[in-house]
Symmetry: D2
Subunit: 251 residues, 4 copies
């Protein structure tokens, strides 16, 4: 069973624990977790949950450029590896395990990112994992409170909200792409758009990794200006920032 823990396209955090319990109940199936946008935002107790494979990348919660992947492989997965028939060479995990034990890599790695990783791990250690998780919760709550105060529907319910990204539906009469364009051109802020059939239907506010409370205040302020420019008036001016600052002042 392969699951994407945090769905970047919709801002939904899947219930890893419950899904995992069903996989475990099956007995034989492996659980393989795409944790690319959840690691660094929420705690993933890999060993405690007995997750078989958990994979992530350098470019999200680790806050550095893309180019490194991190894969945790458990004993049951290694057993499956031994009998797996799929031909493999460059992406052969066994090679990486073998060379990793000798503190090297089977192929030329992006060495520049090793330096970046060292720097970012120090930053993460300084902030502390618990604080990092709490910050992501706070950024998520702040963003969602602000969006609600602007009268815009959130794409997913609070119960499954991802601490990495918040998907928002614009007012029906406004194309999400127009909001993105104004916010980008005028304020140099990149909001993600909807993918495939959601294009134009939603925009997404990322709050994963190197993001601060200040960035959320800024994004909400910019969003207010963009909505106003596009003629949307169903909110008290400043209500988004007011809601955001209320959450921040209380936390």
């Amino acid at each position: 069973v392969i699951i994407t823990h945090s769905e970047t396209s919709t801002g939904v955090l899947n219930d890893l624990e419950t899904i995992n319990s069903y996989v475990k109940a099956h007995g034989e199936a492996l659980i393989i977790v795409d944790a690319v946008t959840s690691i660094g935002a929420v705690n993933i107790p890999i060993d405690e949950l007995g997750l078989d494979v958990v994979a992530s990348g350098s470019q999200k919660g680790y806050m550095i450029p893309p180019g490194l992947a991190f894969v945790a492989v458990g004993p049951k997965a290694w057993t499956a590896y031994e009998t797996a028939k799929l031909p493999r060479y460059y992406l052969d995990l066994g090679k990486y395990r073998k060379d990793g034990a000798k503190n090297t890599t089977p192929f030329t790695p992006p060495v520049n990112l090793f330096f970046a990783l060292q720097a970012t791990l120090r930053m993460m250690q300084d902030e502390g994992l618990e604080n990092i998780f709490a910050r992501h919760q706070r950024l998520m709550s702040t963003t969602r409170a602000a969006v609600k105060a602007l009268g815009l529907p959130l794409f997913g319910p609070d119960a499954v909200a991802s601490p990495a990204i918040t998907a928002v539906a614009p007012p029906p009469e406004i194309d999400a792409e127009k909001i993105r364009t104004i916010v980008s051109k005028r304020f140099d802020i990149a909001l993600a758009g909807g993918q495939n059939h959601l294009k134009g239907k939603i925009f997404r506010i990322g709050h994963l990794g190197f993001v601060s409370e200040r960035d959320i205040l800024t994004a909400i302020s910019a969003l207010e200006v963009a909505l106003r420019e596009l003629g949307y008036e169903a909110f008290t001016p400043g209500a988004g920032v007011a809601a955001a600052s209320r959450v921040l002042a209380e936390s």
Copy 2:
């Protein structure tokens, strides 16, 4: 007559044109303008006004680190220079004129800033001087509108407002330094404090040089959170950002 064009300590832009007309009426006096925080924010037609000496530095409107000074010296000032009695060596403008003509400098200059200057002048050329001046006007108006909407008194009247910096008096019961501390610690934003007898009485929002509309929205949002945290409730939450975004949406 030596005047500071833009008073950084109070956020006041002196009326250079009027003062200059009185100096010119005198006939003999020179006008020497400290334009450190006005060059790059407002137009200073040096030749048209017949300003004798205009001095600025690299670290304000030019947006690069401190270390370079720019001095424009007119014919009348050079005449005064010839008969000036003050001993001089390192700061002898004549040396710089002489060596400048040979494309060199009399003493070792901070060469690293020459590269920075080249980069920043290209940026300024790309944006265009008129656009730069307009941006500073817009940032000033936005900041002032937001501060008024929060019910806080501006330190100087609109008629003499500096496009470089806005000085604000906090609510009487709140020490300006406390606002600065929260905004700095929580949002990593540096507001300037009051100097000398104004310490604690005002705080100042800089908008000179490498500052965007986004930065002002951010600063106002952060200010709202800080005021709320300090118990100041005499404003509708979000009113500052609402006022700011109104100005931005209209400009």
Copy 3:
């Protein structure tokens, strides 16, 4: 037929043209060229030779960190691709072709290297491909002349010498690793060692990519100091640099 054009481990440049003519004579076989350390050092007329697949990476002749691969695929290879049975996903060339046509990539690429690539391609364009190839020839000749003047055997004959790297056998009584250690510790110059069974038997002087005539002079000078320190006296002091500078002065 898969061939490594420039053998980094031995400093040998394989005769691509001849090998290719045999492959072409066969009629059906594809020729797949690992050009990682030859592209950027010698001309590879891919279309003229009708090479089916030519692959390189960002970290050699392109002078930027590892992380990007460049693969040229000819029509015959694409035909083979259509019927190939090997399962593929991340390394599926077809995905890259399809997305490349839309100016995007199927998976998150190391975007930081795109900026580096743009910078390095401008540098290469400024120097000119012919000049780049000539520089590599000159560096190779200079290095080989210097090594001969020091009385050390070159690992491969001149006729098949690689313009990317020169492998050298140390005097029999001296471990190549000792030379590498001195040159590294004392002069901060990285010479490559021998791989596998050649470890200790050879050392290698790289001259691929961002390497200048000055670097070769420096490496040879450092090598002379190291040899002297290790008690090797079978060369006139300075002979290596003298030979190198003779080649440079004449070219």
Copy 4:
């Protein structure tokens, strides 16, 4: 008495101790030392010698860009300061002393260089002052031995040689500027030229601050190539590097 400790223009290190003893014998005179190119290359026991004023800058032994000056002022000099009549403002040492005590500066300093200074002081601490001085002695000896081996006259005698820079007279038939041009164009190495009446008569090899043994080997190798190109043949090819490497191998 104002003396320049290390004369950059001629590569001569003045005998500070002897000159100082005469100044001290006078009783009243102050000794003011321009140590710009000696601090960081040789030990200057300011207190022990009772030097009244010692001045240096950031751009030489400290290895960072120009922009900071360091001035040590002794008690006798401060007494003279109290009664000095020369008008002063920006360069008034008293202002710096007063503000320095409060950990600030009287005028806007080049803050970027404060960060650079912190980095460079850590580097200097890691290397150790004694090692830094020894390195400069070694670089000086190496350079001088190499120049002698090339048959070129050194501008100053060994007894007064500066560990910061070595001035060399080219062969009579060769203009020093031509040597500098080749070495710069071909090898991207900047040799200093002669100043004023020495222009064309000497060139100077700097070895102050961020300079390693490797750099000297490189410079000598490049010099050999340039001399050969200019038709100077009165030296055994490689003799300069041979002499340099002999000194390095022995030290």
